[in-house]
Amino acid sequence: MKHVSEYRDAELVKGVIEEIRRTVTRPWTLMEICGGQTHAIVRHGIDQLLPSEIELVHGPGCPVCVTPLELIDKALTIASCPDVIFCSYGDMLRVPGSHADLFSVKAQGGEVRVVYSPLDAVKIAQENPDKQIVFFAIGFETTAPPNVMSVLQAQRLGLTNYSILVSHVRVPPAIRAILSSPHNRVQGFLLAGHVNAVMGYWEYPPLAEEFKVPMAVTGFEPLDIVQGILTTVQLLEAGKIGVANAYSRAVSFEGNIPAQRTIEKVFMECDRKWRGIGMIPMSGWCLRPEFDSFNAEKRFEVESIRADESPLCIAGQILQGMKKPHNCPAFRKECSPENPLGATMVSSEGACAAYYRYGRVEIKQSVTS
């Protein structure tokens, strides 16, 4: 962990914070796109260190949070089928569907397994030829390579009992949606470094130009995050527009080209509903028709399942950076991690969960030092 500890060095972080203080002359609103960054910011208290001119709002970059209700319902239907082993990342188990969550399905005898990689699910498929193995393939661009690899691997192995339920989303259309909104107040973006490690950042300069906002490719450790903030503030203060790379140790302009080609072989762009936001055109990935046999929606005939989301929480406004979690009247009352109203409270990357867990609201009231 030596490599990581250097990026958590308090003195180095404070040095960058000082530089931000010297640079900033007026208020700026920045959005960190990725939920992983939101958690790092709140967990390390980076927002407490920033000058008051800088406001961070939390973006929609939590794959668990934005997975639409009807896909959860489809997952629940599939997981309840006999002879199915439903494999998922752990966080998805608690996300409420219309009437249940995967935990309840498990408690009623459905076979739901937590895996850390879709390749583990492929292995389970090999070991259980008499069962149908379904992997819940959620995520942004970051998790796309392993998810498509699992399909190619299953194809290579000739497995007929493996399929994936795809809920993939992409960052650039989400940024476009946020910037197009008449309510938008985001002036600069911290881009999701792990997404850029795969995709590079060639997709972003046209967005920056069109909407006249600067962006910085940003990592996830405290030093990376403050460096991303400094870079964005420098661009804003200088009146410059463009995309800077503040995470060059992991990200190149082109990104991981073999990974991008592999994704393209298996996935194609499609319209996708985002929970709490709505339909964003061409914002998702789905399986190409030639991979239909690996498409769990088709295999289990759940394509027709539709679900309407009910008006109980403000996750949508939070995911778009319009409101903070503690602005929600249900926060810490009706809504908590063990009794989540919305996905932003469920996921370990969700903004509400971060605010709840790290007590962002009451800290300012209770800590006088």
Binding site: M1, A10, K14, V42, R43, H44, G45, I46, Q48, L49, I72, R94, P96, G97, A100, F103, S104, K106, A107, Y116, S117, D120, A177, S180, P182, H183, P222, R275, G276, I277, G278, M279, P281, D308, E309, S310, P311, L312, C313, I314, A315, G316, Q320, S336, P337, E338, N339, P340, L341, G342, A343, Y356, R357, Y358, G359, E362, I363, S366, V367, S369
Partner: protein, 354 residues
């Protein structure tokens, strides 16, 4: 995106699922869901003063001249054997530690076995031998037991329930309800070893790991601490739910707050790395051979010295202090000098680790 789709004033989330109707794994994870289950299901039914204190053991006055500490613990860990321990050692140490945490000397245990049809006799023998060794180390005797066999598929090899009784040292009042503002918070060693060792044994880490469980009987360590100070207010072993959950329980029982210093909380590098890769926070990972103590500030150094002279307390450190405000809150000063809340574990993190 058009105006219609950004109209998020209305709909977004699904209605809440409260898991009040059936048991889910989270009810057994030792976090807030377990807490709620106890509050709603068990406490109202069994209401009595000893139970209501909320410690891991009960302090009872059996009409004798000494007070007794009584506790019980069921063990369902899978796999049965893992680096650093097994279900047998766990079953002995778990109860020994719970009994000892009231400042008691554990003396006798009972053990109930639920065996699954088809369990290899050799496996059972290994578990029994391990229980023998652990009991010898803790200097307790297993004086009664029970065995039941269930049909294949109705259990996962072997479950063990142990109960224990010990004698509370006279003149001491050790309880999760006795923390006092100003107390030093002492941790007996690095956190997270047990949970990550069990995960490693399941092959769920996805990489080779050298992490060993820390399972140990802590009664000798506690004896040394009691010898060093009469002002030990709280002793608690942070098992399921980890250090974070245990400290939160104590803030509620004692109606106090706790301020931790992140830099002082020890985590072995390999445990930290494994947690980092899997997205776990070591503060929430189970321990089976660690204790946290709240000790009067003036006695902290003496207690620390006594702890470090024992086998399971060599790495003891002060990690924070008890505060009067904010009540029922654990705060943590981060390495960056900022402050955040350390909350309880909500539901399930790792299934069946003890």
């Amino acid at each position: 995106m058009n105006e219609e789709t950004v109209n998020i004033e209305g709909a977004v989330c699904a209605p809440p699922l409260s898991h009040n109707e059936q048991i889910v794994m989270g009810h057994g994870a030792g976090g807030r869901m377990s807490h709620q289950l106890i509050q709603r299901a068990f406490l109202p039914a069994f209401k009595n003063p000893a139970l209501q204190v909320g410690d891991d053991a009960a302090l009872v006055d059996a009409g004798l001249c000494q007070q007794l500490s009584i506790s019980t613990d069921s063990h369902v860990v899978w796999p049965l054997f893992f680096p650093g321990g097994d279900i047998g050692r766990l079953a002995v140490c778990g109860t020994v530690n719970d009994v000892a945490m009231l400042g008691a000397k554990p003396l006798y245990l009972t053990a109930g076995f639920i065996l699954e049809e088809g369990l290899q006799m050799e496996t059972l023998q290994r578990v029994i031998a391990s229980m023998h060794d652990a009991a010898e180390e803790a200097r307790v005797q297993i004086v009664a037991g029970d065995t039941k066999v269930v049909q294949k598929g109705k259990a996962d090899g072997l479950y063990i329930t142990t109960a224990g009784v010990g004698v509370v040292r006279a003149g001491y009042a050790v309880s999760g309800a006795n923390a006092k503002a100003g107390d030093a918070v002492i941790l007996s060693g690095p956190v997270g070893d047990h949970g990550m060792a069990v995960l490693g044994a399941r092959g769920e880490l996805g990489f080779q790991s050298s992490i060993q469980s820390d399972i140990a009987p802590l009664n000798h360590l506690i004896e040394a601490m009691l010898d060093a100070s009469r002002n030990i207010h709280v002793l608690r072993d942070p098992t399921r739910g980890g250090l974070a959950t245990t400290l939160n329980e104590i803030t509620m029982q004692s109606n106090i707050g706790i301020m931790l210093d992140e830099k002082t909380i020890p985590v072995r590098p390999e445990v930290g790395a494994a947690c980092e890769m899997l997205g776990f926070d070591p503060l929430y990972v189970a321990n089976e051979g660690k204790l946290v103590a709240m000790v009067a500030h003036e006695d902290a150094d003496a207690v620390l010295t006594a702890m470090r002279a024992t086998r399971y307390g060599e790495e003891a450190v002060i990690i924070g202090k008890v505060t009067s405000e904010p009540r029922e809150r654990v705060l943590l000063k981060t390495a960056l000098g900022t402050t955040r809340v350390v909350d309880m574990l909500a539901g399930e993190m790792l299934p069946r680790i003890c």
